[in-house]
Symmetry: C2
Subunit: 153 residues, 2 copies
DNA sequence: TTTACTGCAAAATGTTTGCATAAGG
DNA sequence: CCTTATGCAAACATTTTGCAGTAAA
């Protein structure tokens, strides 16, 4: 689960990734972490941090998110909308894509992970170094204003 | 497997989807089908059909691919590169993403489909009408110039 | 003939670049 | 200090839009 976000924690994550802990990087990391369930684009991260940090530039947000993704601090999220989206949740998890609301909802399921881990252990994918996998669920929300919830049958 | 692409076949697909069989739609469908393994963007489809159809406009290719995706004639493919990609292979299949060559390689596996179908039959996702699922495999090609191949262990 | 599609060009959106200045270690 | 990151503005890439003309059924 997600622990509370402290300044110390944010600095530590940056240092652990071998990055300079600049003010801009700290607030970008804070914003993308706070917005993790929304899988935000650079613009959305920028809108979130701008009120408290009016001097930061959108270009820096772009560069910073790209740097974070390269170092593994955040994950790039696949999207259909032709935009670059980021996810501060770097644990193994899947995504549910709703084709009418365009939402991307997290789907975490240990049983599914085990199932797939076992499956890909059996399959050989030649000439490919497999780093991870994720399931994409597609469909539509029944009641767009309400939440999607997962339960066992 | 893929059957050979005939004019009659292309027209039929359009009519079956309730679309007017215009010349432009026929050649866009031909091109995106021929390029299915590449998961092309609008520009790539346009480059492919332009030599034989110099009067077609790029804007029409954008609109046509969007129409095809809405009717289910092609599928929108998730991407990390911030572009809209399309796949004329509408059968259930997964994708392998290589993070250095940026390739998206098809991965078809009946056993995996069965495994996941059984799994999601057990899970209830409340307030969501599940249409389909697909697995994304991420990693890197070992020898970028060579093919990725799948085999059983 | 009627309706829906196409071409064109402009605008909107999203992202990257280059470089002078500023800040972190 | 020295190196790397930032801000800014311009360039670039991609996608959408509006509308007059054209073609399919």
């Amino acid at each position: 689960m997600q622990q509370s976000i402290t300044l110390h924690n944010l600095r530590q994550q940056l240092v652990d990734s071998g990055l300079k802990a600049t003010h801009q990087r700290i607030v970008v990391l804070e914003a993308v972490t706070a917005l993790h369930g929304l899988h935000p684009m650079a613009e959305e991260v920028y809108q979130r941090l701008k009120p408290a940090n009016p001097s930061i530039s959108l270009g820096t947000v772009y560069k910073t998110l790209d740097t974070f993704a390269d170092t593994g601090l955040v994950r790039r999220v696949l999207s259909q909308d032709g935009g670059k989206r980021y996810d501060a949740n770097t644990d193994a998890h899947s995504h549910i894509y709703c084709s009418n609301t365009k939402e991307i909802v997290d789907f975490e399921d240990a049983e599914l992970d085990e199932l797939l881990t076992a499956f890909f252990k059996k399959r050989n994918i030649e000439n490919f170094d497999l780093k991870g996998f994720s399931v994409q669920l597609t469909g539509t929300k029944v009641e767009p204003d309400k939440q999607i919830r997962i339960s066992k049958a």
